[in-house]
């Protein structure tokens, strides 16, 4: 595959030469299925959206004169003994990383055309994602009901904590939920032979995987900037 002739007559090449060739082509820039290119571009836009939220959170946290609540105390849970800091968050991180692993395996199985394994791995990923959302909902209820956190006030420190937290984790949780639904739709289509009828191409599993890994990626940043910082 090192001498693929492209539609403009240019030859596929690695490095800068390939870069110039790609951008000079007649019909399409990137030699990838259009679904993949579009998903990447969507994820790029979503990156900017989450960056706006995170930078906004940074701004209000820097600018407030009130003390900022300490996340390891706010998000600690006790199981009868001393509160363990950030334990639920650690479990949620573990779950999301596990789900990224099952998703990567699903993509691999998809390309091997093993529909059964692809289906079960995608379902496992979706179940893990749903449990993540469940835990986040529990976290929300704890903050709202037990701690009295509101978007405009919280007794533990700066008022902006509430709005930042609900906005950022809310948007992320919404993305995870949408991802769970998306994964289940694709998983059942794979199982029912929907893609066999369309030429036996399983790029769609990789495309869904890109979205799912993005959701995990955003959590990596939220975990670092909101819960640890």
């Amino acid at each position: 595959m090192s001498e693929a002739v492209l539609d403009s007559g240019a030859v596929e090449a690695p490095g800068a030469k390939g870069l110039v060739n790609d951008w000079s082509r007649d019909k399409q820039v990137f030699g990838v299925p259009w679904g993949k290119a579009m998903m990447w571009i969507f994820l790029l836009s979503d990156t900017f959206i989450f960056s706006c939220f995170l930078v906004g959170y940074m701004s209000v946290r820097i600018a407030t004169t009130d003390p900022w609540p300490v996340p390891s105390e706010v998000f600690a849970l006790s199981f009868g003994g001393d509160p363990i800091p950030l334990v639920l968050i650690a479990i949620m991180t573990f779950i999301l990383i596990t789900s990224s692993g099952t998703m990567a395996l699903a993509v691999n199985m998809g390309y091997r055309k093993d529909r059964k394994k692809t289906f079960w791995l995608m379902v496992a990923t979706a179940i893990l994602g749903a449990s993540f959302v469940g835990m986040q909902a529990f976290e929300w209820s704890k903050l709202i009901i037990d701690e009295g956190v509101r978007p405009w006030y919280n007794p533990m420190g700066a008022a902006q904590f509430g709005s930042s937290f609900f906005m950022i984790t809310g948007f992320h949780g919404m993305h995870v939920t949408a991802g769970v639904i998306y994964l289940l739709i694709i998983a059942f289509r794979v199982r029912n032979g929907f893609y066999e009828k369309r030429g036996g191409k399983y790029e769609i599993v990789e495309i869904a995987g890109l979205y799912w890994h993005f959701v995990d990626l955003v959590w990596v940043f939220i975990f670092a900037f909101f819960y640890l910082w």
Binding site: V32, I62, A63, L105, H213, F225
Partner: protein, 114 residues
């Protein structure tokens, strides 16, 4: 063409998967062991970028994508660094203005109810 190009030995995925757990554990330890100040923030950022790098490069296949796609996707987010710089400068200024004009905060925080 795309199908064969995206199949890599599973071993690399398992390795990166394991590494993600390890780095996450280290991230958690930064808080559990009560690191503070510059050391805390430096470690948080390093571990965050390591994890993000692994996820984008290996799980999202970016390592194996063509340079045009790599640059088109990874290039623009660099502009976010500019936004971060500008907004942190502004935030510092706003905080100083508030202290100058309204005085230090008199908020007495309550401990989280457990």
């Amino acid at each position: 063409m795309a199908a064969e190009g995206q199949q890599h030995p599973l071993k690399i995925y398992y390795m990166i998967w394991a590494l993600l757990f390890v780095v996450s554990f280290f991230s958690y330890m930064v808080d559990y062991l009560h690191f503070h100040g510059a050391l805390r923030w430096t470690l948080i950022l390093i571990f965050m970028f390591v994890k993000a790098g692994f996820i984008v490069a290996i799980f999202m296949h970016m390592t194996w994508e063509r340079l045009a796609l790599k640059l088109a996707i990874l290039g623009p987010p660099v502009a976010i660094l500019v936004l971060i710089g500008l907004m942190s400068l502004e935030g510092g200024y706003v905080e100083n203005s508030r202290i100058e004009n309204y005085g230090e905060s008199t908020f007495v925080p309550e401990a989280p109810a457990h």
